[in-house]
Symmetry: D2
Subunit: 395 residues, 4 copies
């Protein structure tokens, strides 16, 4: 309906886009309904128009995000189910620790995403509210009729009517930014782990490569994880944008501020679009990612069984106590290291150990699949929560 470039050009003079828009609208109404044009914008101020428009856009983006979040959760739930028993090196401090499963690893991310779904559900009704207060937020120019007009407008736009205008109270918008910053950080953690597992020396995961995708301009062998890189590079932009909202847009002076409001115009849409893009791309990546279970198994053996040192130590602790058992196993590990043998061999060769553990005992303790503790129960609980929420129409 509108000549957007003309409105944009004119907005520089007026300080916002509403004034030229209203002028155009008034002209159009005058043409179609002579007389009605006298009532265009009655009661409202520019910020009522711009803010309510923003809320309508937020309603759309939050809808999209709810769906994409459900999609990512669904893809991850699938991975959790498929790899609930895929034993993998658990890594702490970037070092092999004790075994875990790929399913449990992803269940941790799913668990966090289910919390983000909760936060989104709680936040949405707080955010989707009308802005309509007039010049100083009192609806003065509508006299006695302010309440009725506000209600009718809220109903028309299918937005909630807030108790007071929020021209200079922007906590709702910061909550939106904070939600997306938290969500993209969770995705950043997930995909950052993917990236680490894609390293040449680890290679447990890979991004699929098509004819063109991920090639190098100069190295013929290169398969760059381009989608992984794109997600990680965009996710990290969200906190800086959110920081701008917090430091610059929350303190808007008096009834309507001199600054801050305009800061939102460039910041919040970019934040939402970037974060939602990261979410969508994460869904695509998770659905495409290939899992090399052979490499996972091979890497489990990299430490010559050392990552099961705790397994042996805790078994011995039943007899020796935790501290003494810890010390004994450390001694055996040093022997294994000195002689460049694996832990099982060193255990079998140790006289003191022989007093407590038989050969079959050692074999059992050295099987990573036997040292998973509550892994299955944990995975089950997360999946149950996922399924329950599905059942409730969460998706």
């Amino acid at each position: 309906l509108f000549d957007l470039e003309k409105i944009a050009a004119s907005s520089t003079m007026h300080g916002n886009v509403a004034i030229p828009l209203i002028r155009e609208l008034t002209r159009m109404v005058a043409e179609s309904s002579p007389g009605a044009d006298a009532y265009v914008h009655w009661g409202a101020t520019s910020q009522d128009i711009v803010d309510s428009g923003l809320v309508l856009q937020l309603r759309d983006v939050l809808d999209l995000t709810r769906n994409s979040l459900a999609n990512l959760s669904g893809v991850l739930a699938g991975i959790v189910r498929e790899h609930a028993s895929t034993v993998m090196a658990g890594r702490t401090w970037l070092q092999h620790a004790t075994p875990t499963t790929f399913g449990l690893k992803i269940a941790g991310a799913l668990d966090a995403l289910l919390r983000h779904e909760e936060r989104l559900a709680e936040m949405t009704p707080r955010v989707l509210v009308l802005q309509f207060g007039g010049a100083a937020g009192t609806l003065a120019s509508l006299g006695e009729g302010g309440e009725d007009v506000a209600s009718a407008l809220a109903e028309q736009l299918k937005l909630q009517l807030p108790d007071v205008p929020w021209h200079s109270q922007r906590d709702r918008l910061v909550e939106v930014g904070g939600f997306y910053a938290g969500l993209t950080s969770t995705i950043g953690k997930l995909v950052s782990d993917f990236a680490l597992l894609m390293q040449t020396e680890i290679a447990e995961l890979a991004e699929p490569h098509g004819k063109e995708r991920g090639g190098s301009s100069t190295m013929p062998h290169k398969r760059n994880p381009v989608l992984t890189a794109a997600i990680l590079s965009e996710a990290v932009r969200v906190p800086g944008l959110h920081s701008t909202l917090l430091t610059a847009a929350m303190v808007q002076q008096h009834e309507r501020g001199l600054t801050g409001w305009q800061t939102e115009w460039a910041t919040l849409p970019e934040l939402c679009v970037t974060a939602h893009g990261v979410l969508e791309a994460a869904g695509t990546l998770a659905a495409q990612i290939t899992v090399d279970t052979e490499a996972i198994g091979a890497n489990l053996g990299r430490t010559r069984g050392f990552l099961l040192a705790e397994s042996v130590s805790m078994e011995l602790a039943r007899v020796l106590g935790r501290a003494e058992a810890h010390a004994l196993v450390q001694r055996v590990l040093q022997a294994a290291e000195a002689r460049s043998v694996d832990l099982a061999t060193a255990l079998r060769a140790d006289a003191e150990v022989a007093g407590y553990l038989s050969g079959p005992d050692i074999d059992r303790l050295m099987d990573p699949g036997n040292y998973l503790g509550s892994t299955a129960a944990m995975v089950r609980r997360v999946l149950q929560r996922y399924d329950a929420r599905e059942h409730l129409g969460g998706r």
Copy 2:
């Protein structure tokens, strides 16, 4: 019970405070219950200890914050009631706009604080959860007994049991940081408005001054708003600390990270303490602040009635339409400015206006108290919500 300096010194070597603490605890248990020392820390990893300790501290600080937030809301509700009819210049773009009331101004802040109370209530159960997962988050060293021990421990500490350990999923902590960043920003807006209203040329509000408080080291007449300054200067530190959590602490690698966790140690406690201090101080300031209704009234007259231009314009719009009325009033304003008279005088002197408005009409339109629109209804709604929540034991 513990020699904290010794533990602190030793923690450098070990990379965290838990290892030397556990050593001391084990020694103490060995003395008091020989044999039981073998079971100290069984199943746990250092991070289980440090994180669960953090959650216990968070429980305390969130409790304190709930009370202080209720206190600030209560003080503000009192101001809203007292000044529901204190007519004040509404200010937009740092310029006088149309009248409002001091009560409505504060009601905006109260409205935001009630939303922060909601957010706190929603967040609390998500955050107050046990951390207990062992080396790689599988509780492997407890074999079949992991679930039972975890449940018993959660019950003992009166914390919820999460579905999976959250060693490297830190969204709960970022939510805490985000809550406080939002809350302090709302307080920052409130107190920033106070500061603007305390300026020498405006002087509608003042911070009380005791014998010593707020004096200058060199200027005998000076009454510096020191508490206002302290609140504003501290509030702005919270977003930077929250930004550190978002950018540095959310991406912790694999099962337990190499970095990020330690970043939280210095950041999250400082964030909570700073933000809570800001909240408490805001409660004190709001309770002490003095309101100069005479100055408020005097300032209302500063624009020679220009801030009621809209009042006249909207009255004329009923006859002339919005655009034509706007133009007519602008012409009268220019005349008033050229002749340095007030708007009422210029309106009375204008022939065209005389066709629409009588002298008494102009008097009525020039009374700021007659141009408050829905102010009373808005204030009433916010206070009703405040009272309802009080009734529900919100405080």
Copy 3:
């Protein structure tokens, strides 16, 4: 020369814009110089292309900024000269303190801008360097010829040749971001003071208003300082963008990173353009701003002479010592406040004061223009530095 949309679309697959660009270029070279196409991109990697292109753009923006910075400094130097003797209330803690001049106020900003000019001059040669290292930064594919090709390319592009490629060492770019963040913060302080001085109750400065500029959509009397608002609202976006560079783009892994580089693409150009726009707009605003010396004089009298309390106190201190004089003046101030008279009157009425100060003494001490200390010397020094730099061709 290029079909940018086609290249953009293709860049998603490849992870950067260089690969499709090179393909197009190769095709074009093959057409115009058959055989030469075999040598297109020889030795280079995609990042060499994108980074060197970025540096060429930075050269342009830094040039523009040098000019705009000189322009703003020039405008401010003009204000300093014009208002070197315009006595104005000095304000601390947002309260009247002691007199200053508008010239000295602006000289403080000019002084800071001259430092920013220094920083820009120091930074520029560090930043304007070629990127050319090939796949892993070794120029391996050029064999023995790497140095010669690199030198020739640097000469061609008129860029300095760095000692090593800087594919994953991005301190130069962060320095650019930091420069602009500092510069916009200085401008933010300047224009924030302007905004405070434009408040309805102070009104010492004003933004010019044209027929359309700064009007309100609903209030006929409104003159919103729209350029002031635009500058302040944009300036505050720069720190968040700079924070993204610091937290996300400085740690690029190994020889060329998986992430961070792409983060720069969206962040650094936006940062430069936003900051440069703020600088230009500040030059425009400073050149247009109107100074109401009458209002400045009237505001000086707002405290009934209290802002000269120090003047009296320091005069008395010559006889009584600083502490006793401070106490005496505070007593007189209380009397003045209690009786609602000005400080001069209260001083004349005080018996103890009469022992030290005559009526003419009091008159002299109560003239703000007599209590400016080193103001003139300070202003002179800053202008001398400005002029010296002009002489050296700084502009």
Copy 4:
């Protein structure tokens, strides 16, 4: 000399630490030199005291940093020399790319540190300036004597005398924060690469482990890189602190601000101490780090020669042109991958390749040490710059 706790307690009332300090000092001077106490603090304001004290502390910390930076550069220069020829997999996008040397990798960091040394040298004289302006920055209370007293004080404190006071122009302090943020980011990149190279599956570097250092509370085999973790976890705190300076401390109102100054008190010292600690610890880590050249060699072979694909491709390009050669090598790589053989074998088996390359050609091309291009020259240039600066007393 002072009872710090008493001063601290009293500072809450006064809004800063200077007022109670001056009171104590005045009392002490009165005792030791009766009469002189009347002149204590004459001419100064609280901020003069606090800011000049800060600058004296900055002088100390910048001195320490200059030394620690020279120390780190020296340690890195040693590594560069020692490992100039240690051939290592060059990694881009976290994937093996083409060979580089460990020396060149570290030379990149050294090159950046030499730039940080330049920045520090340029910044220092700008920052080490006296603050002395009195109540509103005019030195009014010193009458005609302001300039002389200021000069004498600057000489006494061995600080430069600025052209104007900088009470509310804080660009110098933000420059300090920015310097440290850049420096710690460079260190963060260096140590982040160390951490990646310490991963269990890569293990090219290791942090030394003493009897206690880096042990786990539960896993006997664990050797956690605790110093690496500490550096990385602290380095990432600096940008958030710097962001607080930029967003909250740069805009201080009018002659001396209501806020912002106090924000610096908690932020800038923490920033400097944290960043300097990171620098010192990086010097310690770099001096201690162990390099496993055997692992480096083994990892070079992980891709079965694929990381030399470019070497072959560029050799063939001399005959076939870049594009055709790239395509041929990609075909051979696919064959190698399909048959699970190394690249050399696949090249020898390819009929088309045989037309261009002999067996010895292939052997030469498959030696990573033959594909280093300008590596040696680059390393030489950086070391020459390092040595030249040493010669000039840079250290």
